[in-house]
Point group: C2
Chain length 484, copies 2
C-alpha cells in the first residue's frame, strides 16, 4: 500500500501521520457507489437537492472551529482568511440550494405545436436538461474549502443532480477526510445514499488518472495547474467514450494602467492583491502593463515599496516553493530586471517584482508563463496599441483589469482586445476576490481553461453538469414523471 504525508508549511516538513493512497479497487468502489446513487439523485426534486446543500452548509458552519484549525495546520493560510473562505463555501452551497428551490436545474424551453407543413409546422416539443452522471471532482490546494471537498464544483454538480467522486488534494488530507466524514453524516441523516459523495486520495498522478479513466465517470471538473489539468484533460479525451472536462488551469491576469490611474492607492491595492494568499490565487495579477506617463516612475516605486512591506505567509507546499523560485529565475533569465527582491526566510518566499519593456515581453514566451506566488512583472508599454499587443501575446486569461480606460477609439480598441482574451474584465479594483453571483464568469480562453464556454464560479457553474434533451410529442404523464 502506498502512503503519502501532509506537508506543514510553517515548519516546512512533512511529518504528518501516513495517509494511504486509494487503490484502484477503492477508486472503482467509490465510482460504483456514486453511480448506483445516480438515478435516484437525478430524480430528486429541487426541494430535496436544496435540503442536502443547506445541510452541508450548516455542517461546515457547525464544525467551523475544528475545520479551520485543521485547514490552518495543513495550509498556513491563516484563520481569518480560512473563516472567510468557509463562509464563502457555505454561501455557495446555499446559493445553489436556492437555485434548486427556484427550479434552475429543471428550466425548460416549451415549444408548443405549430400547425402546417414543415419547415414552419412542427409537433409539440420541450427542451429540458438532464444530469450528465457521476462527476470526478479534482480539488485544489489553494482553496481548502471553496475549491475542495464541498466547494463550488461539488455544490454545482449536486445541484445539477450528479453524484461526485472527489479526488482530495494531498496538500490538506486531514481536512479533506474530516469534511468528507461530515458530508457522509449529513447524507446518512437525510436518508440519502452515502455513495452520492465519494472521496479518493493520494499524492501520485495514478490516483487522478484512474478516476478520470473509469468508464462510469461522465464528466470531470478540475482546478489546479496547467500541467496537471492538461494531463487529465488528455486522458478524458483518450477514453473509449470521451467525457466533458472542465479544467480551470490558472492565468496571468494582466492589469493595464493608463497614466491617469497610476496613483498611490492603486499601487498599494495591487501590492496587497499580488501577495494575498501568498500570491497563490488563480486570479493573482501576474503582469502590470503600464502606459508611460509623468507619474509612471513614481507609481512603480510606490508599488515596489508597498510590495516590500508585505509579509506573506508560507507557501502551501514544497513543490510550490520550488516552482516559485524557478519562475522568478526564468523571468530574470529572459530579460526581466529586478525591482524588489526581499530575502526569503526559511519558510516564506518574500515578494518579488521585476520589469521589462513590452517588446521583450511580447518576444519572450517564457515571460508569459504563470508564476504562482507573491510576484508580478511590470511591463512598460509605449502606447495603447502595444499594450493590446501584450494582451494578445498572453492569450487566454481568467481576468483582464483595465484602469483609467477612456471612451475614445483607443479605449474601445483596448476593450475589444481585453474581451477577446478574458473571461472577466474589470474596470476597477483588483482581480483577486471572485464573487459568487449570477453574472460571474470564472473561466476564459485556453490556456486559462479547457472549456472556455463554461464557468467554475457563479450560478452558471451548474450548467456544466447538465445536457439538453428535447421531448417531442410527449404524453402528459411524462411531465409528471420528471423532477421539478
Amino acid at each position: 500500500m502506498t502512503h503519502f504525508y501532509a506537508y506543514n508549511p510553517r515548519s516546512a516538513t512533512a511529518e504528518s501521520e501516513p495517509y494511504a493512497e486509494s487503490s484502484e479497487a477503492e477508486i472503482d468502489a467509490a465510482v460504483r457507489a456514486a453511480t448506483a446513487a445516480a438515478a435516484a439523485w437525478a430524480s430528486a426534486g429541487g426541494t430535496a437537492r436544496a435540503a442536502l446543500l443547506e445541510c452541508l452548509a450548516r455542517a461546515l458552519e457547525t464544525s467551523r472551529e475544528e475545520l479551520v484549525s485543521l485547514a490552518d495546520r495543513e495550509t498556513a493560510l491563516g484563520v481569518q482568511r480560512l473563516n472567510g473562505e468557509l463562509d464563502r463555501t457555505a454561501f455557495q452551497l446555499r446559493r445553489f440550494a436556492s437555485l434548486c428551490r427556484a427550479g434552475g436545474p429543471f428550466e425548460a424551453v416549451d415549444d408548443p405545436a405549430v400547425g402546417g407543413a414543415p419547415p414552419a409546422g412542427h409537433p409539440p416539443m420541450r427542451r429540458l436538461r438532464v444530469p450528465l452522471g457521476t462527476v470526478a471532482m479534482y480539488a485544489a490546494s489553494n482553496f481548502p474549502f471553496a475549491f475542495s471537498v464541498l466547494g463550488g464544483d461539488t455544490a454545482s454538480a449536486l445541484a445539477a443532480g450528479c453524484p461526485v467522486v472527489i479526488k482530495a488534494h494531498p496538500g490538506h488530507p486531514a481536512l479533506s477526510r474530516r469534511t468528507w466524514a461530515l458530508a457522509q453524516s449529513v447524507l446518512a441523516e437525510l436518508g440519502l445514499s452515502t455513495g452520492l459523495i465519494g472521496l479518493v486520495q493520494g499524492s501520485s498522478p495514478a490516483v487522478g488518472l484512474a478516476l478520470v479513466r473509469h468508464p462510469a465517470i461522465a464528466a470531470a471538473a478540475f482546478t489546479g495547474s496547467t500541467r496537471g489539468g492538461v494531463a487529465l484533460w488528455k486522458e478524458a479525451q483518450a477514453r473509449p467514450v470521451p467525457i466533458p472536462f472542465f479544467g480551470e488551469l490558472g492565468a496571468i491576469n494582466p492589469v493595464l494602467v493608463w497614466p491617469a490611474a497610476q496613483t498611490d492607492e492603486l499601487a498599494d491595492a495591487l501590492a496587497a492583491s499580488i501577495t494575498l494568499g501568498c500570491g497563490q490565487f488563480c486570479t493573482k495579477p501576474g503582469v502590470i502593463v503600464l502606459l508611460q506617463g509623468a507619474d509612471t516612475a513614481a507609481f512603480v516605486a510606490r508599488l515596489g515599496t508597498a510590495l516590500a512591506q508585505q509579509q506573506p505567509h508560507p507557501m502551501l507546499t514544497a513543490g510550490m516553493r520550488e516552482a516559485f523560485v524557478a519562475g522568478v529565475k526564468r523571468q530574470l533569465a529572459h530579460g526581466a530586471k529586478t525591482l524588489v527582491q526581499e530575502a526569503d526566510t526559511a519558510q516564506a518566499r518574500r515578494p518579488f517584482l521585476a520589469e521589462v519593456p513590452a517588446a521583450t515581453f511580447i518576444a519572450e514566451p517564457e515571460l508569459r508563463e504563470e508564476v504562482f506566488g507573491p510576484s508580478s512583472l511590470v511591463v512598460h508599454a509605449g502606447g495603447a496599441a502595444e499594450a493590446a499587443d501584450a494582451l494578445r501575446a498572453l492569450g487566454g486569461s481568467l481576468t483582464v483589469t483595465l484602469h483609467g480606460l477612456t471612451d475614445d477609439a483607443e479605449g474601445r480598441a483596448t476593450l475589444q482586445a481585453a474581451m477577446a482574451v478574458a473571461g472577466r474584465v474589470l474596470f476597477a479594483g483588483v482581480p483577486t476576490g471572485v464573487a459568487v453571483t449570477a453574472a460571474q464568469q470564472h473561466g476564459g480562453p485556453w490556456p486559462a481553461t479547457t472549456a472556455p464556454q463554461t464557468t467554475s464560479v457563479g450560478d452558471a457553474a451548474l450548467e456544466r453538469f447538465l445536457r439538453p434533451v428535447c421531448l417531442q410529442d410527449a404524453p402528459d404523464w411524462v411531465w409528471r414523471a420528471l423532477p421539478t
Copy 2:
C-alpha cells in the same frame, strides 16, 4: 495542383469537370480574409446581422431553379426533396435573423452591486457573450443546402458574430461554388467584406485538416461520418491552442415499439422513414426494438412488405454505396438474419431488413455500428428491461423513439433509459425530419456528437459560437461601445 471530380449518382460515374483542391496558401488566404473581417462583424448589431441572413435566404430563393437543378445533378436527391430542403434552409436563415433582431446574441445577465462584505456583497457585474472568432465549417454530403454552404452551421455562426470558412463537401462541388458565389454577391451588395464567408474545397483529408489546424481558426462545426469527424476533432485538440469542436457524427436512432403500438400504420411509416433520402439521414431509424406481443410477427411482416415496395433513389457517392454493402454484410456476419433483401440495380441500393435477438444485439458490438443507407435491424426484446439494456448497449444517439409507452414503473424506467442516451426522445412519429425550433436538440451523448451539451439544429445552435464574458464595474460608455 490536385484535382477532384464530382460523382454523378444516377450514372454512377465521376465525369464532371475537374475541380482544383484548395492549396495550403488558398486555405490560409481564406482564413486570413475571414479573420480580418471578424472584428467588424463582431461589432455588427442585430439589425445588420439579420439583414445579411435575410438577404442570403432571399438569394437562395431567387436562384432556386438553378440551385435545385445543380443539386439534383450532383446528389440525385430529387427536385421535390431539394426544393423542400431549400425552403428549410431559407427558413433557418430567417429564423436566426429574427433571433438577431430580438437581441438573442446580445442577451446579458445583469447583476447590480450588492452592498456589504463578501461573500454576499459584490460590485456591479454583467455577463454577456462574445463571438468565438473565425469558424471552420465542414459541410455534409446528404443535405446539400441545409447542412452545407449556407446551412445551419453557417447561419448560426454568422448570427453569433463569427466569420466562417466553409470546407465544401466534394459530393456537390458545383452547387457549393454557386451557392458561395451568391453569398459573395450578397456580401458585396451589403458593403460587407466578402471574406466573411470563405470557401475551400477538396476531396482529400488534407484540406480539412489544414483548415482545422490554422492558428486563426477559433472553433469548428462538422456534420458527417464518425471516422472523418473524430479525425478532425483529434486535430482540434492537438493544436497548440485547442479549440471547441462541434461534431455531429450520426447515430443509430433506435425505435422501441410496445405490442399495443405494433400497427400497420406504424410499420408503413417506419418503412418510409428508413428509406427517406435513401436512408442517408443521420436520424434514420437504424434499429427497431420490438417487445414481443400477439401481433409482433404480423408487424414484422408488414414492415418487410412495406420496405420491399420502397424504391429509393441512388446513393450519394460510390464510397457510401460500398460502405452500405459492407455494413449489411457485417450485420449478417454477426448473427443477423435477413428479412428483406431486394436485388440492387446498377445505380441504387435496394432496402435491406434483418432481425436479431436482443441478447445477440447486446453481445455483438458490430451490430451496433451505424449503417448509412436504406436498411434497419429488427431487435426482438423479451421485455422492457431487455429493451432498456439494448439502449444502454447502443450508447449515445441523436434520437430514441418510444411507441406505446405507458405510465407505469416499466414505462418510467424506459423513459429514463432513453433520456440517458438520446438528445431527442420522440413519443410519436419517426425520427427523420428535424424541426428548426426553439426547443430542438439535435445532438446527443458520444458517439452521436463530440459535444453532447450542444445542438446543431434549432435556436440553441447559436450558443455554440459564443463565449461568456463578465464585465465588472464597467463605466456607462462601455455599454454604448458594445453591439445590440
